[in-house]
């Protein structure tokens, strides 16, 4: 939008052209539905599956990467529950698929509370339907790059107690935040809103592990609604300012406190995504 450009909604007249996009654009695949497909879900459309196939071509390990990332999310939530965290803010929660945060947390403690956040309409609608009977979990439709929209949302304020530790989850979402949005300040904004003793679980794509595949993925994702911005180990470390990283620090997802019983025999360095958990000090 250049100077002098405005957005005006449709004029609401049957004979006038509508200037409004239809709200849901199925022509453009979304990352949430792509992720669902890679995890074996059916919450996706032909366009999403086409994108997924191109994604797999660029990165044959895509399914493994998705699996490891989802696994990391689960382990990090359990890790926080063990350390007394009973409320979670899951940014970029995506399509409810297997192993949602509230299922993991509420299995460990039925009183656990979860606020999901996603800006994609279908993910939002789907989560709303799924959480209809769950008073301790809700979803806010918002963009994670606008923290105040999320932190000040009535559902958030109603469900979460900001005087008690909060598990802040940014699993497999931060690679959609462009460098221009001042990522450091963004994370700090969330950090400053939660009390000492809260945790941050963070994972995102990196070029450090498989550079050529990563470059191809970036290329593929340019055609979706959610282009990707991989970050290096150092850049991700910087985002943890104000948090003390717990063991083993920032590592490929498969190496973050793995479940020894699940040995898939693969090379953990091919997980494509860095993960880490930190505690606010």
């Amino acid at each position: 939008m250049g100077r002098g450009d405005v957005s005006v909604p449709g004029m609401g007249r049957s004979d006038a052209t509508s200037w409004v996009p239809d709200g849901i654009d199925l022509e453009r695949p979304s990352a949430a539905r792509l992720y669902d497909y890679l995890l074996g879900g059916a919450h996706n459309f032909a366009h999403d599956r086409e994108l997924a196939e191109r994604f797999i071509k660029a990165q044959p390990n895509a399914r493994e990467i998705a699996r490891h990332n989802r696994s990391f999310l689960r382990r990090s939530v359990l890790f926080m529950v063990e350390r007394g965290v009973r409320q979670f803010l899951d940014l970029g929660s995506g399509i409810p698929t297997v192993g949602n945060v509230h299922e993991i947390a509420q299995t460990a403690d039925p009183g656990a509370k979860v606020v999901y956040v996603d800006y994609e309409e279908v993910a939002y609608a789907h989560s709303t339907l799924m959480l209809v009977d769950n008073p301790l979990a809700t979803i806010v439709q918002a963009d994670l790059t606008r923290p105040d929209d999320i932190l000040d949302a009535p559902q958030t304020r109603e469900l979460l107690d900001f005087d008690q530790p909060i598990g802040l989850l940014m699993a497999g979402v931060f690679h959609f935040v462009p460098p221009g949005k001042d990522p450091g300040r963004l994370v700090a904004h969330y950090r400053d809103a939660i009390p000492v003793g809260s945790y941050l679980a963070f994972s995102q794509f990196t070029r450090d592990l498989m550079p050529s595949e990563m470059d191809r993925i970036v290329e593929v994702m340019k055609s979706s609604r959610d282009p990707m911005y991989p970050r290096s180990h150092a850049e991700i470390t910087a985002l943890f300012a104000g948090f003390d990283l717990v063991e083993p620090g920032i590592v490929p997802t498969a190496k973050w406190r793995p479940d020894p019983g699940f040995d898939d025999g693969g090379d953990p360095d091919r997980a494509g995504i860095y993960a880490g958990v930190g505690r606010k000090h």
Binding site: R3, M11, G12, A125, G261
Partner: protein
């Protein structure tokens, strides 16, 4: 075939580990490895039980396949990996190849059916979610549209949505108003058709630009145009939006324009605000030497019409007046407005030869003088008119309006049914007073106002027996009159009483010995507004209790007319002051039976005459002159009811002697000294 029967217990542990590896490598299972191991063990149990049954219960495989799906063992290659591991394991354990193959076939079938069911369920959920999201988007869009539509329709700014070539697609009512054409006349036309100067450079998108638009009948109006592009999702420019702001009204009212705030509902004429802005606009668009006439007029005795015939008739008179004024200037480049209750303004822009102002005023008043018959009552109105004739080069629009108003005020002061043309010289004098009056509050604020004391003498022996406290501004103007005209006198009254009260003990010690029994030493004469002030007696009580002086040392004079007409609390004040023991006085006294009766009724102690001879020296008038005889009788009457009489403005001792001979008790004026400070009084 005498193989030993398989030992399920031993084989199971053997089999679970490789199966778990397959699952770990192919599927995301949201459980701990221990839990998954438990699940696999249970499934293996079922399978071995099925195989060891006689005959083998191969259909049990269906349920195992189903449970695999329920347990999320559904990675892309989880099934073939699992079947491979199981086939090998069962072969090693020595189960028959056929039952194993059949059993695993059933597992695959159960798996496929369950997976298909799950996919359909997920798709169903998806559809539902999609529908919900679509409905939400639809609702949001409708709400946004409605909001937009509301703004679009209600906005006072003209908005046009046009094709890229400028053809109107949508226009709002405000634009129709600005262009002076109904909305349907704009359909299919372009904005450019209404722009007066088509040789101007084209509008730059995103820039505001001043242009003139042409209204029907050929007159033009200045507007601000702002154009923006409307782009679709992919960023392609599809339409243009142009905002058109009426400049004249814009400058006046910013963005809070509405027809209602600009027009008078009763007559449909522009109201004062609107008139001022239109005057400004016409002034700005008229060549500097083209003459204007601006008339301000109000109806004589309009309140009388209202009270006599009722408001409905009053309203009709106003509407009739509006119509007649409009008719009187028909065909001229003119503007008629209602600028107040019964006040109207008429602005006429002349070509070059303007008729004399008197001719114009005559034509208007003649038009108004025609009786308007309604229900048998013929009402004619007369008007008082102020006029100014000038060119834009000579006066700004604001000055013009002020000048016409000043002329109107002047005509008012001459009486009813008068007219006056603006006279710069007279206006300057009036303005000087106005400036002083309006400057008073500031002067007070800045401490420029002082209390001054004017000596008061006993005429019998010309001894100073009293001072009069007054508010003094270091100019040659009468401060009291100025203060009265701005309303500042109300707070000035208490201020004067309180300030001068601090010197009360001084006057007591100075004049107490010489004054007669029961005579006050300190006089304050209050204006009409101050006399009516409800807090007066409280203020006086405060002053007395602060100084401890007897109430009788204070003489307070109220305005005669204020008491006579029962203005505010004037009568109560007079009564209360008398009850407190203050020496009560009336000033501005002109005589007449009602005034004299009032003196008796309220036991007024002092009556201060207002200049009965209108500036003439009484000592030069013959004794038999009527005014002299009347004044003498008045003095006698006042003395007979127990009031002592005082006069103001005595010029010299000859005049003083004359008043003394008529039985007047006290006097002040330049003969006995001008107002001064405390030192001026005590040092004398």
């Amino acid at each position: 075939m005498s193989e030993p029967p398989p030992d399920p217990e031993g084989d199971q542990a053997e089999l679970v580990a490789p199966w778990l590896r397959v699952v770990a490598a192919t599927a995301y299972v949201p459980r701990s490895s221990t839990e998954v191991r438990g699940l696999l063990t249970a499934l293996l149990d079922r399978l071995t039980t099925a195989l060891t049954a006689d005959p083998p219960d191969v259909a049990a495989g269906l349920r195992v396949g189903e449970l695999m799906v329920e347990g999320a063992l559904t990675g892309e290659t989880t099934l073939e990996g699992s079947l491979g591991v199981l086939a090998d394991g069962f072969a090693v354990a020595g189960y028959g190849a056929r039952p194993v193959a059949a059993l695993l076939g059933y597992v695959a079938a159960g798996y496929a059916a369950a997976l298909r069911k799950r996919t359909l369920a997920q798709q169903e959920n998806m559809k539902l979610a999609l529908l919900t999201a679509k409905q939400r988007a639809e609702r949001d869009r409708r709400a946004t549209e409605n909001r937009f539509r509301e703004v679009f329709d209600a906005s006072a700014v003209g908005i046009a949505i046009t094709e890229l070539d400028g053809t109107f697609v949508e226009t709002n009512p405000a634009l129709a108003t600005i262009l002076g054409r109904p909305t349907e006349d704009l359909r299919g036309r372009t904005l450019a058709e209404f722009i007066a100067d088509d040789d101007e450079p084209p509008l730059v998108v995103g820039e505001a630009d001043r242009r003139r638009v042409v209204r029907p009948g050929g007159d033009t109006a200045w507007v601000y145009l702002t154009t923006s592009m409307l782009r679709d999702d992919s960023g392609v420019a599809r339409y243009r939006v142009t905002m058109v702001q009426d400049l004249s009204e814009l400058q006046l009212l910013g963005n809070q324009l509405s027809h209602q705030s600009l027009h008078d509902a009763l007559t449909g004429l522009p109201n004062r605000l609107h008139f001022e802005s239109r005057l400004e606009a016409m002034h700005a668009q008229t060549p500097p030497h083209r003459p204007f006439t601006l008339l301000c007029l109000d109806l004589d005795a309009f309140s009388l019409v209202n009270t006599t015939y009722g408001h409905a008739t009053g309203d009709r008179v106003l509407r009739t007046t509006a119509n007649r004024l409009t008719a009187a200037v028909a065909g001229k480049e003119a503007l008629v407005a209602r600028i107040g209750g019964d006040e109207f303004a008429v602005l006429i822009a002349h070509d070059t030869q303007a008729p004399p102002v008197s001719t114009l005023v005559g034509a208007l008043t003649a038009e108004l003088a025609e009786p308007d018959y309604d229900a048998g009552v013929g009402l004619a109105v007369s008007a008082t008119v102020g006029a100014v004739r000038c060119t834009p080069a000579e006066m700004t629009s604001a000055e013009m309006f002020r000048a016409a108003d000043a002329a109107h005020q002047h005509a008012r002061s001459l009486g009813r049914h008068q007219w006056a043309e603006f006279d710069g010289h007279a206006d300057r004098a009036t303005r000087k007073v106005g400036t002083l009056a309006t400057g008073l509050p500031a002067a007070w604020e800045n401490g420029e106002l002082r209390v001054a004391y004017q000596p008061v003498v006993r005429l019998a022996d010309l001894v100073q027996v009293r001072v009069r406290a007054l508010v003094h501004l270091p100019t040659d103007r009468d401060t009291a009159e100025l203060a009265e005209s701005t309303g500042l006198s109300v707070p000035l009254g208490p201020w004067l009483l309180t300030q001068s009260g601090t010197h009360l003990d001084r006057w007591l010690s100075l004049f107490g010995p010489v004054a007669d029994e029961g005579e006050a030493v300190h006089r304050v004469l209050l204006s009409a507004l101050q006399s009516a002030d409800a807090d007066l007696s409280a203020t006086v009580n405060d002053v007395l209790s602060a100084t401890g002086a007897p109430a009788g040392s204070l003489e307070i004079g109220l305005d005669t007319r204020a008491v006579l007409t029962c203005r505010g609390d004037a009568q109560d004040n007079l009564r209360t002051l008398s009850d407190i023991g203050v020496v009560t006085a009336l000033h501005g006294f002109t005589g007449g039976p009602r005034e004299v009766a009032m003196v008796e009724r309220f036991s007024v102690r002092t009556v201060v005459l207002s200049d009965p001879f209108e500036g003439w020296r009484p000592d030069w008038l013959p004794r038999e002159a009527v005014p002299v005889r009347a004044t003498l009788e008045l003095i006698a009457a006042l003395r007979s009811v127990g009031a002592s009489v005082g006069v103001l403005g005595v010029r010299d001792h000859a005049e003083a002697t004359w008043w003394a001979e008529q039985g007047v008790r006290t006097a002040e004026g330049q003969a006995f000294g001008r107002p001064g400070g405390v030192a001026d009084v005590t040092g004398r």
